[in-house]
């Protein structure tokens, strides 16, 4: 039986009905729903960025008992739009990325010395993924991780993320609009209808 990683108990992010959810090791749950239905709000609340009711539990430890910075490194959120505050890409990364990861995302080894002002939206998206994964999280909250990518890169990112989830025994909550992508990556599917997340 797979080990439970993340559990939500009557979790209330403010605009959805309180939600119960369990994600296991190596499991990818896809979340879909119309824009503005509260998917991003739910992810932000799980990452402890927005006020919320109920409780989130990581491997038996309640969110309320873990300091927020530590929780956010373990339950890491990739937002729809990435932000860059320093001059070069490398300054945003806690450690130098593995060569295999750079290759898998079709990024050259010198990508860490790139100036962030000159990044394309696709490069930003892939580097943001690299950045969030370099925290070595246990749960990945992915807000449309392939939205800014062409189909080649989208397929690359998909394969890379799925392999990470399987090999490093992560739990993933993946927001996607693309039925074909959901078909490829989802172990379970949640759909938001009329303010309520339902299994489908």
């Amino acid at each position: 039986m797979a080990t439970e990683v993340l559990r939500l108990n009557q979790f209330d992010c403010g605009i959805l009905k309180p939600l119960d959810l369990v994600i296991h090791e190596r499991e990818c749950v896809c979340l879909s729903g119309a824009s503005g239905s509260g998917k991003s709000r739910l992810l932000r609340a799980i990452a402890d960025l927005d006020p919320h009711g109920g409780e989130a539990v990581l491997r038996g430890h309640a969110q309320s008992a873990i300091p927020a910075p530590q929780w956010r490194r373990r339950v890491a959120l990739l937002p729809a739009e990435s932000q860059w505050w320093a001059e070069t890409v490398g300054e945003h990364l806690p450690k130098a990325p593995a060569a295999a990861d750079l290759r898998a995302l079709d990024l050259p080894a010198e990508a860490t010395s790139w100036n962030v002002a000159r990044l394309s939206s696709g490069e930003k998206q892939r580097l943001a993924l690299l950045r969030v994964v370099s925290l070595s999280p246990e749960v990945l909250l992915l807000d449309e991780p392939t939205a800014n990518l062409d189909s080649d890169n989208a397929a690359r990112v998909e394969r890379w993320l799925l392999r990470l989830v399987r090999e490093q025994r992560l739990a993933a909550l993946w927001v996607s609009h693309d039925p074909a992508q959901i078909e490829r990556v989802a172990d379970a599917r949640l759909r938001i209808r009329e303010g309520e997340a339902q299994w489908s």
């Binding site: 910075p69 956010r72 490194r73 890491a76 937002p79 932000q83 860059w84 505050w85 950045r131 925290l135």
Partner: protein, 200 residues
Amino acid sequence: MELISLSIGSLSLAAGLVVLLALSTYWAGLAVERSLLIAAVRAAVQLALIGLVLEALFAVRTLPWIVLMASFMLLVAGREVIARQQRRLAGWWGFAIGTLAMFISSFTVTVLALTVMIQAEPWYQPQYAIPLLGMLLGNTMNGVALGLDRLTEGAYQQRQLIEARLMLGAGWQEAIGDIMRNSMRSAMIPMINGMAAAAW
């Protein structure tokens, strides 16, 4: 000690310069002569009133009254600092932070100067204490108003960057550290300029 007193003639000369300035701005079409004259009259009336208060205070010379006067000056300075802020911290915080910072810096230095350097008898002799405190409060007011304004404005402008850093597990000190250091640096510029120019 011989006090230098100003005659009515020399005061009229100063007032005449203000009237001349008002006339020049009128001829130059700057349309500020009205507010200039009003400000000048207001300043004269205020200074006369302060003169009356100080005269009474210098006559009484007891510690409780001097403390009362000093607290009043501090509160006025605190109010002025808040008035300079474009974006204020919610609740009492904005006022309390600025006022406390000014209290600690200017009161400690005033007491140090009075007791160790001037060594007046008693140390709180208002002829020394009040003008000294006034000068120190004026200087710290500049620094605190600039520093707070840069801090809140920076936090507002870069709120998405701050949030992105929090998202990646940074503590608040790290997430807002750059803005804090920059605002402290800006706050010290007037003082450093003053000392640098004095050295010539």
